[in-house]
Subunit: 241 residues, 2 copies
């Protein structure tokens, strides 16, 4: 079993098919577990290429970030053949608090992950828009955090990311450019399916603006800083010009 925890499809492809790639160096019948977030079509393609060489592919993107990874508390969204599941399950059980088995075709796990990323990205952008707008309205944003997390406007991302804004702490737990990539994949999938996703498209533009303003490698809550800088709004830790 090889578990590949890299950022994107290109890195996964290099591990599989680059010089000394796993497609040739792994024993036949071994399983390659791919956890990168990628377009489901790309996952299907990588799986098909690997399986021609008699190695198995498990499409198994993860959710939860580095803190939960260290605790063995990830959520794994897996799909692939019964043979791939059988070989990979003990390793996955060790790293995952929740293992979802989503079907016998690679690409399904990737598609579930992209639906999650659509929502996660929109929620970070909305949290950033809302908290900066609240500051602009003169509201106490610590009180806003208290009220919203107890109200119907709450999201997992609001609860998790807004504390970074309250603390003025933009050290990257997950970087802006991760959502530039992931919401970009959502756009590609949606355009390919002729499916309009205007809310996700607006969120992607906010991540792109934040990256363009020089914050691509900072924490993704930096979208709030972008709103503050554009509008001259005070946020903790942000010098006003």
């Amino acid at each position: 079993v090889v578990i590949s925890v890299v950022v994107n499809a290109a890195q996964t492809e290099a591990i599989l098919f680059g010089a000394d790639g796993v497609a040739e160096t792994l024993p036949e019948g071994a399983v390659f577990v791919s956890s990168a977030t990628m377009d489901p079509d790309v996952a299907r393609n990588l799986a098909a290429r690997l399986e021609t060489s008699e190695r198995l592919y498990l499409d198994a993107p993860i959710s939860g970030g580095s803190v939960r990874a260290a605790e063995g508390a990830l959520t794994v969204l897996a799909s692939g053949s019964a043979a791939a599941f059988a070989k990979a399950r003990p390793a996955l059980d060790a790293m995952a608090a929740k293992l979802y088995e989503l079907g016998d075709e690679p690409g399904v796990g990737a598609a579930f992950k992209m639906i999650n990323q659509l929502l996660a990205g929109v929620h970070i952008a909305a949290a950033s828009e809302a908290v900066a707008f609240a500051a602009r309205q003169g509201l106490d944003i610590r009180k806003v955090y208290e009220v919203i997390t107890a109200s119907a406007g709450n999201s997992w991302m609001f609860e998790n990311r807004v504390p970074h804004v309250l603390d003025g702490d933009y050290a990257p737990r997950s970087a802006v450019d991760i959502f530039v990539k992931d919401l970009g994949i959502v756009q590609d999938m949606a355009r390919s399916a002729k499916f309009p996703v205007p809310v996700a498209a607006a969120a992607l533009q906010m991540f792109l603006m934040t990256s363009a303003a020089g914050m691509g490698r900072d924490d993704d809550a930096s979208v709030a800083r972008l709103y503050a800088r554009i509008t001259g709004t005070d946020l903790p830790g942000e010098p006003q010009t």
Copy 2:
């Protein structure tokens, strides 16, 4: 104490200043508690007009909907003078599970409510976009609900509204046109403050499209039906043409 639970500023104004309005029929020193969702400037204006007649105004929008209202389990976001709070507090304690006291100026409660509505509206639109896109990708949307509610893409609204989509049940618990109104107020506030809110603007357009397609009085999860109808995607209870 009069507690006014109506939909909007116009209805509130009619109760206060229309024929036989509260501004004249209430004893002097009594308190009028306004729970409608409205622009903070309008709340400030109504309060100022009422208080010239020696009655008290408490700006106290509520969150939670009709089910929680019946249980006395609402969240109340209140601001107003100490005198208004003193008179209204026993009644508010009876109807609210949580009473937030947000300051001594009317308008602050209204502003907190609008921040909540910005997030709530975006999250409903995003949930609708995501679940319809998942159906279009061929995913099992009941499984999507299970996975997302256990993942970082979750929101209070996703958890609450997507079951309506799964059941194909669009009887209105909260109607599309409520968010046409509330996200409309957010746009007015933001434009007035010269503050861009592109994510909320995209969500508002989806509520407007859903209302324009004849679903304005249906449940707000109908935004998912709009995506499905536009794209020819199967959703429970929706006949395909």
